[in-house]
């Protein structure tokens, strides 16, 4: 027999090897997992430190009036941060804040936040085409390429076409149903969104009783602000024992902080849906401030004379507490309520087509009118063919609020006035000139082919009249920011005219017309494509790359007009006119803002 020693030992070694490998793998795997988790945690910490650095940098910019230049390294928590500031043209700066763990010298993890700040006014044009109570007036054969949201009637001649969806909001009564305002010495400030005398005034409410049983379409609140507080949440609530009922929220809306300036103005708010209110029943307008901040807060105008008798104001530190405490305020807070109940309609004549869906209280039309998708309505003419689904008894769409307030315009006008005043301006054919920032007491009259470089804000108290191919161009120093020309009178542009930005992407020149077409007979809608009043802006046959804004006026568009953005009380499309427009702009920064304080520019947050 041959003896071989160590057979078992080999097996033992194999087994020990397997066990050792398993143990080492488990330890190694746990180490990898631990390091991965640790890295993720440190990355989040670095991001949080960088975000804190952004807040600090913004605060420092505002404290120093914009002269703050950043920081090399500041210790914070488990790490540190550094701030670099780059001046952009116009009112913008770029903040690059890097958070380090554990420090800048030998960082294990670093994260950089890049974001823009501005002391200009940010305006969101959420709709490419936004129409007010004047509605849309389309001539025979006119075409509107895109979707439309109108607060007024839409009237179309024969063979008109709308290629997108149509929303016609429920009509709003012109006069306020309930209102409270103050005069002279009775006008006092009621501050909220900060702690005053140990009162954490985060929620403020004003009671009211509607005089009629209808939907509430819109409210206006008399506000001003200090610093750059965040948007407010506004709720309509039912009453519970003389205070807002926390379980009775009837509608919610957002009040954009950009619409509020440092001077009082009535700011419109609409809601996600228009609530039905019962006449002579108590309700509450309740504002919730997102934070209590000693630097960024709100003022609500208060009438010490207490002349409003249908409700009183109260404040609370937490409207959602299990048992909210509401404390009475002396005075009445400034507000207006506007009821709906006005029937708005879309009325298209023979052979007209809507390629999308239609949402309107009343849909009427001649023969051969086709809605290619769905129809949401109360009343529908039997002659109209709906190729999608019919939704009768649909509630009216709520109206929308325009993105620029009277307070914003007042600020621009003041900034223009600060630049000086001059008389009327005249230019012949092919003229070139630079205007602004200033107030022109008179008219601007230009020949063909002029090029006008504009430093905004430019405020024209009279009319603007331009020949063919005349162009208004925002000065290149404005960089990525935008600017307004404010016109009190009418504006008439020749064919091929344009409003151009500074040349940098994101910069636009806005023509803001304060002309009120209702004073010359303008009314909601039209018949057969005929406008009902003097147009505020007549564009000729032009392709305009700027922004047209006429909150009270009619824009008259000729054939082949195309636009970036129109916000108008009413639009009139002539016979066979074709309107093309782009989608809205989420954020447009205007160089002259109301507050003068720096704030973050939405849409510019990046993590690197």
């Amino acid at each position: 027999m041959i003896r071989k020693n160590g057979q078992i030992l080999i097996l033992v070694f194999v087994a020990l090897g397997v066990v050792l490998f398993t143990v080492l793998f488990i330890i190694g795997g746990a180490q990898v997992y631990f390091q991965n988790a640790q890295y993720s945690l440190q990355a989040e910490k670095a991001t949080a430190i960088a975000e804190a650095g952004v807040d600090k940098a913004l605060n420092s910019l505002n404290k120093t009036g914009g002269s703050y230049n950043g920081e090399v390294e500041t210790l914070l928590g488990d790490g540190s941060y550094s701030v670099t500031i780059t001046n952009q043209s116009g009112a913008n700066k770029v903040l690059e804040v890097t958070g380090y763990i554990p420090g800048k010298a030998n960082p294990k993890v670093k994260r950089t936040i890049k974001i823009q700040v501005t002391n200009g006014l940010g305006i969101a044009f959420n709709y490419g085409l936004q129409i007010g109570e004047g509605g849309i007036c389309m001539g025979n054969g006119a075409t509107l390429n895109g979707s439309v949201y109108s607060n007024g009637n839409i009237s179309g001649g024969n063979s008109t076409m709308i290629t997108g969806d149509v929303y016609v909001a429920g009509g709003t009564q012109i006069a306020a149903d309930q209102q409270s305002d103050c005069i002279g010495v009775n006008c006092q400030d009621y501050i909220f969104g900060k702690v005053i005398s140990s009162e954490s005034r985060q929620d403020v409410a004003q009671g009211f009783k509607p005089s009629q049983t209808k939907v509430l379409n819109k409210i206006s609140l008399k506000l001003k602000k200090t610093g750059s507080p965040a948007n407010l949440t506004v709720r309509i609530m039912s009453d519970s024992n003389g205070m807002p009922n926390k379980n009775g929220v009837l509608a919610t809306g957002i009040l954009s902080a950009n619409l509020v300036s440092t001077q009082y103005g009535f700011i419109d708010v609409t809601f996600d849906s228009s609530p039905n209110l019962t006449g002579n029943t108590p309700y509450w307008i309740m504002i919730h401030a997102n934070s209590l901040d000693n630097s960024n807060y709100w003022y609500w105008s208060s009438d010490l004379a207490q002349s409003y008798t249908q409700g009183q104001p109260k404040w609370s530190s937490n409207w959602q507490a299990s048992t909210p405490t509401w404390t009475s305020i002396t005075g009445d807070l400034g507000f207006k309520t506007y009821m709906g109940g006005v029937i708005n309609s879309i009325s298209l004549s023979n052979g007209s087509v809507v390629n999308g869906s239609v949402h309107a209280n009343t849909i009427t039309g001649g023969s051969g009118v086709i809605i290619k998708k769905d129809a949401y309505y109360q009343i529908l003419d039997s002659s109209i063919t709906v190729q999608g689904t019919k939704y009768p008894n649909s509630p009216d769409s709520p109206p929308t609020v325009f993105p620029v307030s009277d307070a914003n315009v007042a600020d621009w006008e003041n900034a223009a006035l600060a630049g000086g005043t001059s008389g009327s301006v005249t230019g012949g054919n092919s003229c070139t000139m630079t205007l602004g920032p200033k107030k022109i007491n008179g008219n601007i009259t230009l020949g063909n082919g002029c090029i006008v470089t504009v430093k905004t804000p430019l405020w024209v108290t009279g009319n603007i009249s331009g020949g063919n191919t005349t162009k208004f161009v925002l000065d290149s120093s404005f960089g990525g920011t935008s600017g307004p020309i404010i016109v009190e009178g009418t504006t008439t542009l020749g064919n091929g005219s344009d409003l151009k930005g500074s040349g940098t992407q994101g910069s636009y020149l806005m023509l803001f017309s304060n002309y009120d077409s209702t004073l010359s007979g303008g009314s909601n809608g039209c018949a057969g494509g005929s406008q009902s009043g003097q147009a505020a802006v007549d564009t000729g046959n032009s392709s305009i790359s700027g922004i047209l804004y006429t909150p009270k006026g009619i824009v008259n568009l000729a054939n082949g007009a195309s636009f970036k953005e129109i916000t108008a009380w009413e639009i009139t499309l002539g016979n066979s006119a074709v309107l093309n427009y782009d989608t809205g702009f989420a954020s447009t920064i205007f160089s002259s803002g109301p507050s003068g304080s720096f704030s973050l520019v939405k849409g510019t947050y990046q993590v690197k």
Partner: protein
């Protein structure tokens, strides 16, 4: 006399060797099982971390949650298993291009968590089709506003998004599951 082993000695030695061999085999099998189990856990943990990090970073950089995105014949809809984020487009210098949008779609494709990126024509971001995990058992997106406490809202009204991800992997005869939850606010809303 010849040296040798008696039959009893041989049988005893063989028996002991067999017992030791079986014991060693058991150790090897158990070790292999433990190896497989731990490898599965580590892999799941890393997958969870990577997926949640990417989702959270994308949410932070988003301007809004989109209701739908149509790509060819496929329509993505934001809901419990699909999240469509709108991110500002960037140029070649990594600067934001105003008023242009890239779309990030996170969605559950049977058991895969996938990210597809649909950049705007002017954007320097590249199209992506990335798989974060192939063993997803459940995926749940929830949408909130910024109220205190946050209230659940429809996707398009969301200012905060929460993701709950459960991974499930077969390990031998049993399944290993690992659940992680994360949330972030939209910073570019």
């Amino acid at each position: 006399m010849k040296n040798g082993l008696t039959l009893i000695e041989v049988v005893l030695a063989a028996g002991i060797a067999a017992i030791i061999g079986v014991l060693l085999l058991v150790i090897i099998i158990n070790s292999a099982g433990l190896y497989s189990k731990e490898a599965s856990k580590v892999s799941q943990g890393l997958n969870n971390n990577d997926a949640l990090n990417m989702v959270r970073k994308s949410i932070k950089e988003s301007s809004a949650v989109a209701a739908q995105y149509v790509s060819g014949s496929t329509t993505y809809t934001s809901g419990t298993t699909q999240l469509i984020l709108k991110l500002p487009s960037i140029d070649s210098s990594n600067n934001i291009i105003p008023n242009t949008t890239d779309y990030f779609v996170f969605f559950l494709d049977t058991t895969k968590l996938r990210l597809k990126v649909f950049p705007d024509n002017t954007s320097s971001r590249k199209s992506q089709d990335q798989i974060f995990s192939t063993s997803v058992n459940s995926l749940n997106f929830q949408y909130f506003n910024l109220a205190n406490p946050p209230l659940e809202v429809t996707a398009v009204n969301a200012l905060k998004v929460r993701i709950s991800l459960t991974l499930r992997q077969k390990n031998g005869q049993i399944y290993e599951t690992s659940t992680a939850t994360s949330e972030a606010n939209l910073r570019n809303d």
